[in-house]
């Protein structure tokens, strides 16, 4: 369980077509692209109906008229031809050629892609090798070679551009085909005795069609540019026929004295391609669920803080760390997920407090909130205080907070393969941790890093310091993570499921090591876990979390032997006991409530056999059930004296 993953919204299905349209229209740039493109296409379609000059009628007397001349709105070219008329007819031709090339490339590329993907094996291999070969050519070069063979001409340029683009279609559509070819409905079609062609046409094609359409939308702009380019070089349309590219090519020679002849056709090409790209980006964004979920937003250096409730006014208990009514939310659009709700806890000097709960109970988010490390957006700390010796960490600036992180409060994370930087050696990463807070030469820091590796009992620390994380075993990596947390001898270590990714024997070794080190150094540890076995082994006290709230807290042994909250009871019952022979519950029936729809009353009521109306009536307060023990339950199982 890493950070926000537990409360992230479920992957959404693609939006219905209508809402996608609405999204495109809401994206102003995409809408502008759509309007410009639609206007250009409309104008190109009605060009023959408009009262224009004939595009190829020369009039030497009227040569090179500037724009806004009488009768020639955009002026004339070197042969006295009306530029407006030529532009409109040229646009028509360029669009027709670009779009035809797209359809040809899409047709041939899709056939190759579907056949290769559906057939698989040798045929697939041979076809794709050929496609790779074609892609090894710089783009235009292949088109040039083809035009060299076929000879200059607009139709040949069209063919060349289409061929050059076939590989893109073949690759994308093969990928999509491979993705569906082993799905049940294809197997069913095959078993029903349908012919191969019918399966391809009736079952495969409709499913890869979206990919074909998307590839077309991303390549059509390129193809219009490329055909225009070949015409510009004189290898495409031949006079008197003119597309936008050849108009630009002819105009180039008059650049010095009549620049309008060349910049107008270029401007039209630019407008067409730009509007296609705007629209294409808009469509892509509209269809990308990650963008809508805010999953592509850049996380800020610290969690956004927007506190409506500053916790209680009660003077902080005399503890290195005390957390007071901490509330953390994930705000996704209009939806708010309540990950952590008014969590209060305190950590005494040298104490080890376990926070235990299921996935999604908010325990990791609690841990990350302490140093404002929750990714934001979408995370927001909406209330409470985190007091380090009485001073509130959450009212510090990012700059001040930086000095606390790693020096006073250090973290050990779950999976060191993803939490250590893959491209730096572990020694470098330790050096960085040391030098972030201590003025020390690199050499001295390196020696210190080696000492730390030795401290966490990594054999041959001098050599291992030069290793990259992926070169170490899981247990070794976690020891590096521990060494990194110890680098500045912090007063508090927050360990977020540090042993979950390890196998049982290694887990025991790492726990022993942590226990020993914290006792030696009198370090307080907040230990996040979902494993009661781990809690028993290392924690002095334990806090049980459910649906973002602490539901019970007390000394480890008392809570374990005599749980007060029905949830704690069930959680303990889930732990298999080796050799006890007693029949245990496999799991707790039902699911925790969704974090964006928490009930008013007890969040566990729906899964609790003892629940009644009082449990559901309203918020339930945490209350003392025995000395040092608290529970959030109207009818606790223990300490009811």
């Amino acid at each position: 369980m890493t950070s926000a993953a537990g409360i992230a919204p479920p992957a959404e299905a693609p939006p219905p077509a209508r809402s996608a349209w609405r999204l495109i229209l809401r994206n102003r740039l995409a809408a502008a692209g759509l309007v410009v493109l639609a206007s250009i296409i409309l104008l190109a379609l009605v060009t023959p109906l408009l009262p224009l000059h004939p595009p190829n009628a020369t009039a030497p007397a009227n040569r090179l008229l500037p724009p806004f001349s009488d009768g020639h709105l955009l002026g004339t070219d070197h042969l006295g031809r009306d530029i407006l008329a030529r532009l409109m007819w040229g646009t028509r031709l360029s669009l027709a050629v670009g779009i035809s090339a797209t359809f040809i490339a899409a047709l041939i590329g899709s056939v190759i892609g579907i056949l290769a993907g559906y057939t698989g094996g040798r045929t697939d291999n041979t076809m794709m090798r050929g496609i790779d070969m074609l892609m090894a050519f710089p783009y235009i070069l292949l088109a040039l070679a083809i035009v060299a063979v076929l000879g200059p001409g607009l139709f040949n340029a069209l063919i060349a551009v289409a061929i050059v683009n076939i590989p893109f279609f073949a690759r994308n559509i093969r990928g999509a085909t491979v993705g569906i070819v082993h799905r049940e409905f294809i197997d069913a079609a095959r078993l029903s005795g349908k012919g191969r062609l019918r399966i391809l046409a009736a079952d495969v094609l409709p499913n890869v069609l979206p990919v074909i359409v998307i590839t077309m939308s991303t390549t059509v702009g390129w193809m219009i540019l490329e055909t225009a380019g070949l015409s510009f070089l004189g290898l495409g349309s031949q006079p008197p026929q003119a597309d936008l590219g050849s108009m630009l090519g002819e105009g180039r020679r008059l650049l010095m004295n009549a620049p309008h002849v060349s910049y107008l056709p270029g401007l039209v090409i630019f407008l067409i391609v730009m509007s296609i790209n705007l629209l294409g980006d808009g469509v892509r964004d509209a269809l990308d669920p990650r963008l809508r979920a805010g999953a592509l937003a850049r996380p800020a250096p610290m969690t956004a803080i927007d506190r409506t409730d500053m916790g209680t006014d009660v003077a902080p208990v005399d503890a290195p760390l005390s957390v007071d009514h901490l509330t953390t939310q994930f705000r996704l659009g209009s939806d708010t997920h309540h990950a952590v709700n008014e969590v209060s806890l305190s950590l005494g000097r040298g104490e080890c407090l376990g926070v235990i709960g299921e996935s999604g109970s908010g325990k990791s988010v609690t841990a990350l909130s302490l140093a404002a490390l929750v990714a934001s957006p979408p995370g927001v700390i909406a209330g409470g205080r985190v007091l380090l010796h009485g001073s509130d960490l959450l009212s510090k600036s990012a700059r001040e907070l930086r000095k606390v992180r790693g020096r006073d409060v250090a973290y050990i994370f779950q999976d060191p393969l993803s939490t250590l930087h893959p491209q730096f050696t572990v020694g470098d990463q330790l050096v960085e941790a040391i030098r972030a807070h201590r003025h020390m030469s690199r050499a001295a820091a390196w020696a210190e890093a080696v000492r730390l590796l030795d401290l966490v009992r990594i054999p041959n620390p001098r050599g291992r310091a030069r290793a990259y994380p992926h070169e170490l075993s899981g247990g070794m990596r976690q020891r590096v993570g521990i060494a990194m947390a110890l680098a500045n001898a912090p007063e508090i270590i927050v360990a977020d499921e540090p042993t979950t990714a390890l196998d049982v024997t290694v887990q025991a070794q790492v726990l022993d090591l942590m226990d020993e080190l914290r006792r030696d150094r009198d370090t307080a540890v907040l230990f996040i876990t979902h494993d009661f076995g781990v809690v028993t082994q290392i924690c002095d006290r334990v806090a049980v979390m459910y649906a973002g709230r602490i539901v019970e807290t007390g000394p480890t042994r008392q809570v374990l032997e005599d749980p007060a909250h029905p949830y704690t009871r069930k959680l303990i019952d889930c732990v298999p006991v080796l050799g006890s022979g007693r029949r245990r519950f496999d799991a707790i029936s039902g699911l925790p409530p969704a974090a964006n729809r928490l009930p008013r009353g007890c969040a566990f009521a729906e899964r609790c056999e003892l629940a009644d109306a009082a449990c559901r009536a309203g918020p339930i307060a945490m209350h003392e059930i025995a000395a040092g023990r608290q529970a959030r339950c109207v009818r606790p199982l223990a300490g009811t004296s």
Binding site: L134, A148, L373, S418
Partner: protein, 315 residues
């Protein structure tokens, strides 16, 4: 490392062979009789047959290919009939000019593509991001040959700051400053599209990386925001950006065809366009082959750099 490079070099052999087969096949598809094309319309049938025999064109195609390949490997690309000199000499000479132009453009597009991408990622959804996104969109939508013309109009015709065309001044030029002055406009034009693509990719790669767990670890250690962005995130993002720079080399070499024509740069792109117009097939063949091979080599370099950047990538 050496082993990796060696392995990649060996893997190049089939790719280069494939390239040569495609180039040969395309040229073999040319309709009409080359001997007739060389000798002209008034050639006698005997002369045509004799020339065909001399050129080896009466042999079966696979044999022709092997002979041709053997010649290529010994540096014999044939003789350009329009220039009346060995193809290899002309191609290498022109290719040097293209390398200068494409190399400069590639450095430029990497430089401002990566910079713009970082700025856009760091200031995501801010003004800098919007401006970069807009410029990028213009960059990848603008026809490069038109952009070149506009730059000539502005900087050479109106402002007279820079020369409009050529590689060296006709009079009194020829030194490095002269070359650089001529290089500015075409190199900037050529880098526009590729810079846009690289900027887009850098932006999305940075945003992707900034959400990774190891970035949170860096923050938890107390590393400052600069260190997080420029040391941790950038290094990780470059792993996916570098191969794309390799691919952009292909677009830059392609774009050089247009830009060399617009700026009268004496490179291989302009040579190819002229050779196609004069139907000098051997020259086209040699040019295409050399450029394609250099592109393949460049991609290899990009892969090696990626390998150096990321110790996990194993080939």
């Amino acid at each position: 490392m050496t082993a990796y490079v060696f392995k990649r070099l060996v893997a190049l052999i089939p790719v280069l062979l494939g390239l040569s087969i495609i180039v040969f096949a395309i040229m073999a598809l040319i309709p009409g009789d080359p001997a007739l094309a060389i000798l002209g319309a008034y050639a006698t049938p005997e002369n045509v047959a004799r020339l065909n025999r001399q050129l080896g064109l009466d042999q079966p195609l696979p044999l022709q290919y092997l002979t041709w390949l053997g010649n290529i490997l010994t540096g014999d690309f044939g003789r350009s009939y329009s220039l009346n000199r060995p193809v290899i000499d002309e191609v290498l000479e022109r290719f040097q000019a293209t390398l200068v132009l494409a190399g400069a453009a590639l450095v430029l597009c990497t430089l401002w593509g990566v910079l713009a991408g970082i700025v856009a990622a760091v200031r995501q959804y801010g003004w800098a991001d919007r401006i970069v996104t807009f410029i990028v969109l213009v960059g990848i939508s603008i026809p490069s040959f038109w952009l070149g013309l506009l730059l000539i109009l502005l900087f050479a015709v109106e402002l007279r700051w820079l020369p409009a065309s050529g590689m060296y001044s006709v009079y009194g030029g020829g030194d490095l400053p002269d070359l650089l002055r001529h290089l500015v406009l075409p190199a900037v034009t050529l880098s526009a599209v590729a810079a846009g693509v690289i900027a887009r990719l850098t932006r999305s790669a940075m945003l992707e990386v900034l959400r990774q767990d190891f970035i949170r670890t860096a923050r938890a250690k107390g590393v400052g925001e600069r260190g997080v962005v420029y040391r941790h995130a950038l290094k990780a993002a470059m792993v996916s950006v570098v191969p794309v720079i390799g691919v952009q080399a292909g677009f830059v070499l392609s774009g050089a065809v247009y830009i060399e024509t617009v700026f009268q740069w004496p490179g291989i792109g302009r040579m190819l366009v002229n050779a196609i117009s004069t139907r000098d097939i051997l020259l086209v063949q040699g040019g295409v082959l050399v450029v394609a091979a250099s592109y393949v080599l460049f991609n290899l370099c990009a892969d090696v750099v990626q390998h150096l950047l990321d110790p996990r990538v194993q080939a």
